[in-house]
Symmetry: C2
Subunit: 219 residues, 2 copies
């Protein structure tokens, strides 16, 4: 999606080893070795996607997700709070279906009322739980999953597990930004999940974003 | 806003003393004395507002907020994750301005990069911090605050503090559901903040919602 790629080029900030993970702007006490390992894999898009939000871009992305999955019968859009909500609600609007967002919890008091999955964060090195009230996913429903990033695929895997536990069918995953050099896409391909990403980032080179359909910049 | 009031009547669940606070569906270990004190003040709207979301209703509400504040110059919409995001992003779309959502954190590693305010939750009996990156609110900017509920007014008060710290001006607060019998509205009136609520709930009587502009149902 050209509009999004241009926005990433204009407003996304690739910050080498100096920066915090996207969406994790507060955690200033990150393990230095981990930051080193993350290396050039960091891209900040909090000025239009996940802290300050551009509503017109969100609407365009939601329309694009609806177009990409237009041939599928879809009953609901499922995402995870908080950064998934804006793109997901516009996809759901365009598809004329409800949107459900899974809640994230660090601690968990189990009850029988919710579907629960664990989501491990490689950068935070912690496990969170995501939950959906059982009333909101019915057996047989066809779900479109939406998320802002696809990196290691843990959030989407968690949503897949919830869908499976609910007896629902996943028609595919709509991703805003996919980092093709991390393992999430392969994990979803193995499971036969259709993935549509609006921007596919192949690498960060010399502080620049290289999209998957571009020739890499020579070093 | 008639559309919203009808939806609250149809899908909102008033659950007497038996239920958890709205938006807090997991916390099953609530203090029984607190639940007693909360009494009939509980309304669950998680089937269209804050867990499962109705996108068309969100869009209608966003348009209504834009109409209500049409005479104001507004630079940005500010809300708090997660339940504020959907109504706020549609208000921002209709106003053609960016939307910023404050992040909630239970623990806090202070840095100079963020505006921070404390938000006390009466029902959870805990204080959370809300944060906004300083890049996203500039001195002199005119902000419209959006939130899903106005009860004791703590979240809006937190946003007011952040706006004040940033040197920004608050043109008003757009609230989806106001509970007029709690102290939030009075608190905002005292500070001269214009409040526009799409639904104003005066009471829960016999398991029914009584709106502020209706005559109460006789007992």
């Amino acid at each position: 999606m050209k509009l999004l790629e241009e926005r990433i080029q204009t407003d996304g900030r690739v910050l080498g080893t100096e920066v915090l993970k996207v969406d994790n702007f507060l955690n200033h006490q990150v393990d230095p070795a981990l930051m080193q390992a993350m290396g050039t894999e960091v891209l900040k898009v909090d000025n239009f996607l996940n802290h300050q939000v551009d509503p017109a871009l969100m609407q365009a992305m939601g329309n694009e997700f609806a177009r990409l999955f237009a041939t599928e019968k879809i009953d609901k859009v499922l995402t995870v709070e908080s950064s998934g909500i804006a793109p997901a609600v516009f996809a759901a609007l365009a598809l004329n279906v409800p949107m459900v967002f899974a809640r994230k919890k660090q601690s968990l008091t189990l009850s029988g009322d919710h579907y629960v999955a664990d989501v491990y964060s490689f950068t935070k090195q912690e496990t969170n739980h995501i939950l959906v009230d059982k009333r909101f996913i019915q057996p047989g429903e066809r779900l479109l999953l939406i998320d802002d990033f696809l990196a290691n695929g843990q959030a989407v895997a968690g949503m897949l597990q919830i869908a499976s536990d609910a007896g629902a069918t996943v028609v595919g995953a709509g991703i805003v930004i996919e980092k093709t050099f991390q393992k999430g896409r392969a994990l979803l391909d193995e499971q036969g999940v259709r993935v549509e990403s609006l921007a596919r980032i192949a690498a960060f080179e010399n502080g620049q974003v290289v999209f998957a359909d571009e020739s890499p910049v020579a070093n």
